[in-house]
Every structure is written in C-alpha cells, then in structure tokens.
Symmetry: C2
Subunit: 174 residues, 2 copies
Amino acid sequence: MSLRIALLGLLVEAGPSSGYDLTKHFGLSTSNVWSAKHSQIYPELRKMEADGAVTAVEESGARNKRTYEITDGGRGELRRWLIETDPNRDVRSEACLRLFMLPLLDPEESLPLLRAEAAVYQVRVNRLKSLAESMDSDLNRYQATLGVLNMTALRDWATYVADDIERKAAEKRA
Amino acid sequence: MSLRIALLGLLVEAGPSSGYDLTKHFGLSTSNVWSAKHSQIYPELRKMEADGAVTAVEESGARNKRTYEITDGGRGELRRWLIETDPNRDVRSEACLRLFMLPLLDPEESLPLLRAEAAVYQVRVNRLKSLAESMDSDLNRYQATLGVLNMTALRDWATYVADDIERKAAEKRA
DNA sequence: AATAGCATGTAAGAAGTTACATGATTTC
DNA sequence: GAAATCATGTAACTTCTTACATGCTATT
C-alpha cells in the first residue's frame, strides 16, 4: 500500500511522470521516508493503471517511454488514505538500528564510528538546508525541512552519545 | 540481515531471552528503528541457532519455552557488522510518508490532521523522556534518547507546517 | 469458569531486493 | 567510439505480514 500511496503523492506533486522519473524521486528527499527500486515501481504502475488510479501515455518516439498521470480516482484514493487511515508507526531504518547498537562496542571502537555518523548527518543537514532554501513550492520546502529536522536529530544524538562516552572514559582513567 | 542483527543486539543487551521476550522488545523502544512480528522472529532464531550464532535451552517445564543466548560467534558477527558495514541509509516509515504528503490536502483538511500528529508525537516525547530517566543502563538511556530526539523532530515539523499553513490561509483571507 | 497473558509455531501471500536483460541517446 | 544516462522490463529469491493453529498458567 505504501508504495502505491507514495507514487500517487509524487504524481500529484510532480505532475505527469515516467517510471524512471519516479524512481529518481526515491533517491532524493523522498528516500527519507520511503524508497523503492525501479523493479518494484514499474510493475506497480502497471497495476495502478489496470485499477484506474493512473493513466499512461506511451511515447511514439524512439525511447520507449510511458508517462503516467494520476486520475480523479487516484486523487480520491490518496485523499481518503491521508484522511482516514491510521498509519503504521513502525520505522525501519538500518542506519538507525546500527546507531542504536553502536554503544555496545568498546569506547575505542564506538567513538570514531559515532563521530563519523555525526559527520554523515551533518553533511545531510547542510545539503537539505540548501535544498529547502532553493525550493519554490511550499510542499517541497516542507519535505526538505522534515529531512533537515530528522537528520539534525541523528547528528545531535551521535554527538551527545560520543561526548557522554568520552566523558565517562576520561572519568574512569582519572 | 537487519532482523538478525537486531536480535543479536537485543540478546547482548537483555541477556538470554525467549522469542516471546524478543518479540516484546520490538514493541518498545526498538520499534523506533526496526520491528518484526513473532512469526518472523521464531524461524529466524531457529536459523541463527543452526548457524551457531545463538544457543538454545529448552525448558522442561509445562510451558514450552526456549531461551536463546548469544554465542562468541554471534558476538563476533555483530561486532563485525557494526564496524565494517556501511549501512543502508534508506528509511521506511509509513507515518512519515503520510506526514510528508499531508500538505497536499486543503488547509481545512490538513490542519487538524497536522495538529493531531503533533499531539501524537508529543505524547511519545513525554513517554520516552520519562523512560530515558528511569533507565539504569547507559545503553538503554541512549536508545530512549534517540527516540526522544526523533519524536521531537516530528512534533516540531508538524507544528511548524501547521503554523505556516495557518498563517498563509489567514494572509489569503485578509 | 472465563479472560488475559504466556509461549510457540506454520502456511499463504504480499512486498521488496538483486541480478539479468535490452536498447536508445547524449556528451566527451 | 566510449561512457554516461535515459528508459523499461522480468525472474528468482528473500523478507515481511496476515491469518490460522495450539495449549498452558495466572488472575478475577
């Protein structure tokens, strides 16, 4: 369901798009909330077309490109899902699972890894901040901002835990 | 892989545990980073036992309970994964996907939903904060704190977007 | 004696990943 | 003309969810 909803949302946001275009969106800010590979997206779009949630126009040009557009039915489906569905609140993030368990290692091992994670998230914060500023639509700015807040939280956590572990290791030595 | 790693981590953290115990952990703070149902956990533990990553003791009592303990091999596997693996940074969160797309709705529809989301995350912030305070181990405190920071980010985002939409709607009316 | 919680399992199906497969066009 | 990028697809496999299935124990 989530993939279908994500695709409907992207089609509203970005207008008519090919499977290729939609695949690229999952590599940008959307990957902060959901992601999918082209091998899952292409069949899903065909299924949505069969259900009448989207329509497709096949380009006659040399490149065999199909452009999908959301239908009124698709819009209704998306709206109902947003309004009526109690979303599943579980999160799946391998990177957070790793963060979560990094403190299991000895300080000599965990500290550089935690500092490296903080740096990774700092880069993402910077990138998303400038992305947010360059966005012309409110929606895109909101979406980039969600990424900024999420990445900031992870950066802050990694820094806080590294500092705490460092302080405790110093106390022990003293 | 992630489920296996999560189970190994929980077995280090919590000590010898049954599949039932581990299933409950995925309903607590662990669900902020990964989750799994018992129907996936039981077979995975059997597989890990066959691989020598864990050992099992079957209780002779009336309740047919199997207690799993991590082996040295399992500890090594976990350590190597934490140190050597570049984790997948994709996130899957249906709740965030929904947040992400809520601004697609008209203000009259999105505002109450955004305020409700902010309230949901506020409750989680409060719960995790008191959980963090009550935790005796550093690791558990760190883990609860990761939840606090993540939930705070979502609460702040929902509030920021709701305020922004409200302000813009008021400007338009004026 | 009924209800809630402990405790484990399997089977079918849906969702997601990896690898294979093809071919056109643009840029250098 | 080589490399990067556009563009779509399928097959095999792994992972995850939902539903079914069972039976004990503690509480009220």
